[in-house]
């Protein structure tokens, strides 16, 4: 079989080659689409699965504490649960009751009350807040959010909202 016969058996050379190439391209596209579809069908559920479901936001806008006002000593502080977040109740040396979020604005440690300094203090990186919750030294970038404290008879009620 010489070259001419081969060419005849396989049809005109250039035309068939271009057809073959484009047909292969189409097949590759379809295969690629299929593979992409399978990959998406596998990885989309996996990614959604790993992302944790949204936690139910605590609906609590106010909380009544179990401690009585007269039991909170002057120049002291204590941690309490406000919804699902910790908060701190302090009584200033002058006798005011105040409440703030207890989560440090730096990296989220829980703060505590330092009676020797009369300040709120974060032990993780030595951050200091004054009795208004304002960051006064150390790394905290922002003040602590303040809550509203109301004394109703012998109950202390802490609620969200702008402190007056």
């Amino acid at each position: 079989m010489d070259g001419e016969e081969v060419r005849q058996a396989h049809g005109p050379r250039d035309g068939s080659q271009r057809d073959g190439a484009s047909r292969r391209e189409v097949v590759n596209w379809i295969l690629g689409l299929g593979a992409g579809g399978v990959a998406a069908a596998v990885f989309y559920p996996i990614v959604r699965y790993i992302v944790p479901p949204e936690e139910a936001q605590s609906a609590a806008n106010s909380v009544a504490l179990s401690v009585k006002p007269e039991d909170v000593k002057s120049n002291s502080g204590q941690i309490f649960k406000f919804g699902n977040k910790p908060a701190i109740l302090i009584r200033t040396p002058t006798g005011d009751l105040r409440a703030f979020t207890a989560v440090c604005t730096h990296l989220g440690c829980i703060v505590e009350y330092r009676a020797d300094l009369s300040q709120i203090w974060c032990p993780c990186h030595n951050g200091h807040y004054n009795l208004q919750g304002i960051n006064v030294s150390g790394p905290p970038p922002k003040p602590l959010t303040e809550y509203v404290v109301n004394v109703q008879g012998d109950r202390i009620v802490v609620s969200r909202g702008q402190a007056g």
Partner: protein
């Protein structure tokens, strides 16, 4: 398009120059040939089992993200997974179904190897590692069954471990080690958790690595009937021909898994309560059914031994004989044409299938 391709090729070459694994694997895969004959279909079962095992590893790791391995929180964590986590039901259901299908393909793979006598020299070690993998697969199934800590799994585990306790002399000791105490408690759960997620998978990786290496080393076994034909069978390269056919099977398996998970999601049932009566119709997983059903038929005492003990020792012996088939089948090793072990294999299949069907057909009251 071509620019991307040439860049990919360059990246591949860069990687190959430094690591060389891909090139070596490609070389081996292209060298390996798969014979084509009327029994070629059975060659796909091992790869299918491997695929299902990979699915198990992936979904198992995903389940670890939410599972809590203690009696107080296990059931609740699965409940949370099934109701609140996106696609949690899908991941758990696929784990459930792939486990069942994997045991199924394992059995088919083993019996096809047995009936085609692919265990003959030099493939004895491949068979030994395969039987060990079957035992590991069944143990993975048994330990995983308890983890959701529901009523059914609690009592199935109580019964299953109790059977170990009847083995003469060492039974009570084994029972205590297995349960982490006298009863099935939270201690059993953490034990089974450690076995199911760490010990057994590590063992499977080791033995499976050896098994796959041996398959690669010896190539595919050609059944004696085909070997003795005049013409040697045609063959195709493993890469890409056989691998692509494998891939089609794997895709089909994935589709079947997704369908089973969507239409028959894994159930959770009621939380285990050690102080509640066992519910009616406690059954083991289907792959233990033939053993469970056999034990029901045994009388309380056989020759002075507890019937259950005789049954357990009998199954132990049968497992040992199965393991030793390449050694026991002397005639086949000598190249003689004997179908003794083929008939034994068929007898085993008939026994397992019959007892399994009876186990499901007979009502629990009967």
């Amino acid at each position: 398009m071509s620019g991307t391709n040439s860049r990919l090729r360059a990246l591949r070459a860069w990687f190959d120059d430094r690591v060389g694994i891909l090139g070596e694997m490609e070389r081996l895969g292209k060298k390996k040939r798969v014979p084509l004959h009327r029994h070629t279909i059975w060659y796909y079962l091992g790869g299918m089992t491997l695929f299902l095992f990979i699915v198990q590893v992936v979904t198992g790791v995903l389940l670890l993200f939410y599972y809590r391995p203690n009696a107080e929180g296990a059931y609740e964590s699965i409940q949370f997974l099934m109701t609140d986590v996106h696609f949690g039901w899908l991941v758990r259901s696929i784990h459930h179904w792939a486990a069942n299908l994997m045991i199924f393909t394992l059995f088919i793979h083993m019996f096809s190897v047995l009936l085609l006598r692919a265990y003959r020299a030099p493939r004895e070690m491949t068979w030994f590692t395969g039987v060990v993998l079957l035992a590991l697969g069944l143990t993975l199934g048994f330990t995983g069954y308890l983890l959701p800590w529901n009523e059914l799994s609690y009592f199935a585990t109580t019964v299953g471990t109790r059977i170990v306790g009847v083995v003469p002399w060492v039974g009570q000791f084994l029972l205590g080690v297995l349960r982490g105490g006298n009863d099935v408690t939270g201690a059993t759960l953490t034990r089974f958790y450690a076995l199911h997620t760490a010990v057994l998978p590590a063992l499977v990786f080791l033995v499976l690595g050896l098994h796959v290496y041996l398959v690669q080393r010896h190539g595919m076994s050609v059944p004696p009937e085909v070997e003795s034909e005049e013409k040697p069978p045609r063959s195709i390269p493993f890469l890409p021909d056989f691998a692509l056919r494998d891939l089609v099977g794997w895709l089909a398996a994935l589709a079947v898994l997704a369908a089973l998970a969507a239409y028959f999601p894994a159930e959770l049932g009621k939380k285990a309560d050690p102080f509640a009566s066992a519910p009616v119709g406690i059954k083991p997983e289907w792959y233990f059914m033939f053993m469970f059903q056999t034990l029901k038929y045994l009388p309380a005492y056989i020759l002075g031994f507890e019937g259950e003990a005789v049954g357990i020792l009998g199954f132990g012996l049968a497992g040992l004989l199965l393991f030793l088939v390449p050694v026991l089948d002397r005639p086949s090793v000598r190249g003689q044409r004997t179908r003794l072990f083929v008939w034994l294999g068929i007898a085993m299949i008939v026994y397992i299938v019959t007892l399994t069907i009876i186990g499901y057909a007979v009502s629990p009251k009967g």
